[in-house]
């Protein structure tokens, strides 16, 4: 299991959590993709900062080797999974709170 495998698994698991575990269906909503589109260039910017200065380096045997803005493309999968899971969890917890307060 190298970074590429796990990053891909993370995306699949985040989507499954969003659709079936938390039932937030974020990936079916335009606002999610708009938010992702806004964050995406900022991810490239922070990736570029961290990799071009060699603050973080990746073991060549852990990645497939294709890069964007200095960072392994696997980072985009990681980023997508974390953004999706963050928003799905946020929706889940805020909905639960609102449902309770309406009692």
């Amino acid at each position: 299991m190298i970074y590429s495998d796990i990053a891909l698994d993370a995306v699949v698991l985040a989507i499954l959590a969003d659709l079936f575990l938390l039932r937030t269906q974020m990936i079916t909503r335009g606002i999610f993709w708009l938010t992702y589109g806004l964050i995406f260039p900022f991810q490239l910017l922070t990736n570029w900062w961290l990799t071009s200065r060699k603050i973080v380096q990746y073991s060549p045997s852990e990645i497939i080797g294709r890069r964007l803005a200095g960072a392994p493309i696997e980072d985009l999968l990681f980023g997508f999974s974390m953004i999706l899971l963050t928003l799905a969890a946020w929706e889940f917890f805020t909905r639960r709170m609102k449902a309770r307060s309406q009692g």
């Binding site: 970074y3 937030t24 335009g30 806004l38 964050i39 900062w49 973080v56 709170m97």
Partner: protein
């Protein structure tokens, strides 16, 4: 100053977060419980993954560019702060865009 290279990017994201929160009057602080719950989910998952990946040397850090304070075995505090700050910025971006577009979040739509 080189030691602060990683911390600088975290500070940049944190400053964006504070600006967006107050600039758009989002009052995320009012939802501190839900924010904390979300952060615990993200921290548990991604810090575990990070700790494991660092242990097997999938990625490694330049010790001249971090402050060299570990929160978990070989996991720099900067990683922990990254997993704290980025979800906050993600939620703020989402809330700001909901406000800007006037689109309803799902639960608001369900109330109608």
């Amino acid at each position: 100053m080189a030691h602060l290279s990683y911390l600088a990017v975290i500070l940049f994201v944190a400053l964006c977060a504070v600006s967006v929160n107050f600039g758009f009057r989002l009052r995320l602080g009012g939802y501190w419980r839900e924010l904390l719950q979300t952060q615990l989910v993200i921290l548990a998952i991604y810090l575990s993954w990070d700790t494991w990946a660092i242990a097997k040397k999938s990625w490694y850090f330049d010790h001249h560019q971090i402050i060299n304070f570990d929160v978990l075995p070989k996991v720099p505090v900067e990683e922990f702060l990254f997993f704290l700050v980025v979800p906050v910025m993600t939620i703020l971006s989402y809330l700001a865009l909901l406000k800007l577009t006037g689109w309803k979040s799902q639960e608001a739509a369900d109330d109608l």
